[in-house]
Amino acid sequence: MADRPRSRGRSWWRAALLTAPLLVTRLAVAAEGDSTAAGASPESTPDRIQALEELTQTHQSDLDKLKRFKFSGYIQVRWETAEFADDSVKVSGSPAVVTPANDERFYIRRGRFKLTYDASPLSQAVLYFDGNTAGSNRNLTLLEAYLTLMDPWTTDHRHQLTAGQFNIPFGWEIERSSSLRELPERSRAENVLFSGERDRGIKLVNPWTPKIETVVSILNGYGINDATFPTLDPTSAKDWTARARFIGGTLDASASYYDGITTIPLTGADVEVKKTRIGGDAQFYYELPSAGGGSLRGELYVGGNLNPDSSRVLIIPPTAGNPVALLRPGADPSHLDTEFNGGYVMWVQNLGEKFQFASRYDWFDPNTDLDHDQFERVSLGVNWFYDGYTRLTVAYDMPKTDALVGAGFEDPNDNLWTVQLQHKW
C-alpha cells in the first residue's frame, strides 16, 4: 500500500516526459504553419514549385533523348514433327532435314531484336540482330544495319535514301516481317531466289503520292546467305532492282524487276549467268460482318537464273588438288542458265478477335525445260492470339515433289506439322 502513491507519481512524471517532446513538436509545426500563412517565408513555396518545374523540364529533356531509341523484337519457339516417321523432311531450321532419328524437335526459329535511333526527322539508324540456334552455332547474327536519310524539302520527309544491309526491295513477302506472317515460312520460290532476303547496297524510296510509290536499289547481288558474303563480291558490276507499287488500301499491287549477273569462277574462263527476275503481286482485303477481316494475296516470280541443280551436274566442285571448280568435259555452260517460275496464292481469314485461318498454295519450277523438278505445296494454319503480343500457330505443310524411286517417280512422305509460339514486343 505504501508503494502505491509513489508508483502513481512516477507514472505521472513518466507520462509528462514522454508527451513533452510531442507537444513541443506539435507546437513548432503549428508555429511554422502560422508563420507561413502570415508570410514569414513567402518565397519558399513558389521557389520550390519553380525548382520542381525546372527539374521536370530537365527530366523531360532527358526523356525526349531516350525516346529516340526504340527497341523491338520477337522470339519464335517452334516444335516440328514429321507426319510420317519413316521419311526425311526438308525444314526451314537447322539441321535442314528432319530424319527418322530426329523427327520431333523443339528449336528457336528466330530470336530477334532491333534497335532504331531516330536522331532527327531527317535521319535514322537501324541495327537488327538474330539470335537463332543454327545447329550448335548460337552466335548472334547481324541481319540488318542501315542508315536512312529523309528529304528536307517535303513536309513529311517522305523521300528516303537508305544505305547499308537491308531487305531486297522486290515483291511483297520479302519485306514483310516474319513476325507478321500467318504461316511459319515464306514461299519456296522466294526462299530459293532471294535466300536470306537481305543484301548490301543503297536504295531510294519515293512515295510520289499517298497511292504511288517507287523503289530503286543497287546491290552487291549475292545476298547474306551466299557463301562468299560478305568478304567477296566476285562481280564489280552490281545488281539493280526497281519496283512500282499502287497502294489502294483495299487493293494493293506492285510490279518488280531485278537484273544482275552471277559469275562462276572456273579453271579457265569464268562463266557468267544472267540473273533476271520479274515479279508481280497483289493483295485484296475485305471484311465479313460476322467473322472479321480477310485477304486474298498472290505473287508471281519468273525469269532466268543460275540453277543450283544444273551447276551441281555440270560443274566439278573444287578439290585440294584443283582449288578452282571445273566444267565437266562436254558440258555446255549455257545450260547453267535456266528459266524458272514460281509463286503463291494465299487466303487469310480472321475468325473473331482471337483466331485466324490461313491457307496457301505455292509452287516453284527451277527449270521450266525439265520435268520432275517442280515443287508444290499446300499449307494450312491457324493462329490463336493469346494477347496483343503473343500468338500460337499450328500449321500443316503438304509438299509435293517427285523423287526417283526405282524406275518411276513418287511423292515422298514429307508432310510436316509445326507448332510455334511467338512473342513480339
Partner: protein, 277 residues
C-alpha cells in the same frame, strides 16, 4: 497419336478465347486526352440509360489509344487526329482490315494566351513562326516586349500531331516548347503565365483567352465559336474520331449509334465540342 495431340492443343486454345473482348469486360474506350471528358460524359449518360452496360473510358493520348486498338486491349479508340498510314498498315497486318473511322464530334483547335495579353489574333503563318522558334518575342506580334513562352502537348497526343501537320505544316516544334501531359495542364500553365501561349481543344478554354485565327495575313480573324467551327470558317477545325478494328457490332454498335444520335450529339455540345450531325 501425333494428330490427336495437335488437335487437342488447338481445342484447348479454342476454349480459351473465342468470345469477343467486350463480352468479358464491357466496352473499353481509350485514347485522346482531348476527348477523355467527352467520352466519360457519353459513357456515364449511356450507362444511366442502359442498365447493365459497362463502359470504361481512359486517356493516354491518341497514339496510345491507336496502339491499344492494334494490340486488342481496347474496343474503341478515341482519336483527335486521323490514323496514320503506318498505323493502318499495322492494323491490317493483324486484323486484315483498315479499321473503321467514325467522326463523332467537331472541334476548333483553340490558341490560348493569358487574359492580360494584348494580342487579339494571329495568322496560321505567325503561329508556325512562333512554334518553330522563328519568332520569340511578343513585341514582333504587337504585344509586350517579353519572350513568348511556348506550351504544348507530348508527341503521343493527337492534338500535337494535328497541330504539327496543319499549323506547322510538318515542320518540327521548337526545342523551347514545354510539353505537358494534357490540355488541362496547358490551359493551367497559360492561365498562370502572362507571356505564355498554348493550344488545345475548344472545350478546355477556361481562365485563358482564345485568340482569333486568320487563315493568312489577308483573311479575317475568326474566333472558334459553334458557328465558325460548324461552317468550317475557323481555320483550325478538326474532327474527333472513334476507331474500331472492324465494323462495329453488338453492344459497341449500339453505343456508337447512341453517340451519333441527337442525344449523344447534344452532349458533345454541352461539353464544349460541336456536333457532326
Amino acid at each position: 497419336m501425333r494428330m490427336r495431340r495437335i488437335v487437342g492443343m488447338a481445342a484447348l486454345a479454342a476454349c480459351m478465347g473465342f468470345a469477343p473482348a467486350w463480352a468479358a469486360r464491357g466496352i473499353t474506350i481509350k485514347g485522346s486526352d482531348t476527348m477523355v471528358i467527352l467520352g466519360q460524359r457519353w459513357a456515364e449518360t449511356y450507362m444511366n440509360g442502359h442498365p447493365g452496360s459497362v463502359i470504361q473510358v481512359t486517356g493516354g493520348g491518341s497514339g496510345t489509344g491507336i496502339a491499344a486498338l492494334i494490340n486488342g486491349t481496347t474496343d474503341i479508340c478515341q482519336a483527335s487526329r486521323p490514323m496514320k498510314e503506318d498505323e493502318k498498315r499495322k492494323l491490317r497486318d493483324r486484323y486484315q482490315t483498315m479499321g473503321t473511322e467514325i467522326p463523332v464530334a467537331k472541334d476548333g483547335l483553340s490558341i490560348y494566351v493569358h487574359e492580360s495579353n494584348p494580342v487579339k489574333d494571329l495568322s496560321i503563318a505567325q503561329l508556325k513562326q512562333i512554334y518553330t522558334g522563328q519568332v520569340a518575342s511578343w513585341k514582333v506580334l504587337g504585344g509586350a516586349d517579353a519572350p513568348i513562352i511556348l506550351y504544348g502537348r507530348e508527341n503521343n497526343s493527337g492534338t500535337y500531331v494535328y497541330f504539327k501537320d496543319n499549323v506547322l505544316q510538318g515542320e518540327d516544334y521548337s526545342a523551347r516548347v514545354q510539353t505537358l501531359p494534357g490540355t488541362a495542364a496547358v490551359v493551367n500553365a497559360v492561365g498562370r503565365d502572362p507571356n505564355g501561349i498554348g493550344y488545345g481543344g475548344a472545350a478546355y478554354g477556361k481562365g485563358v483567352r482564345e485568340l482569333a485565327v486568320k487563315k493568312d495575313a489577308g483573311s479575317p480573324a475568326i474566333k472558334p465559336t459553334a458557328a465558325t467551327v460548324q461552317d468550317g470558317s475557323y481555320p483550325i477545325t478538326r474532327y474527333l474520331y472513334f476507331y474500331t478494328r472492324t465494323k462495329p457490332g453488338g453492344p459497341v454498335k449500339q453505343f456508337v449509334d447512341w453517340v451519333l444520335s441527337a442525344e449523344g450529339q447534344k452532349l458533345a455540345s454541352q461539353v464544349g465540342y460541336f456536333p457532326v450531325r
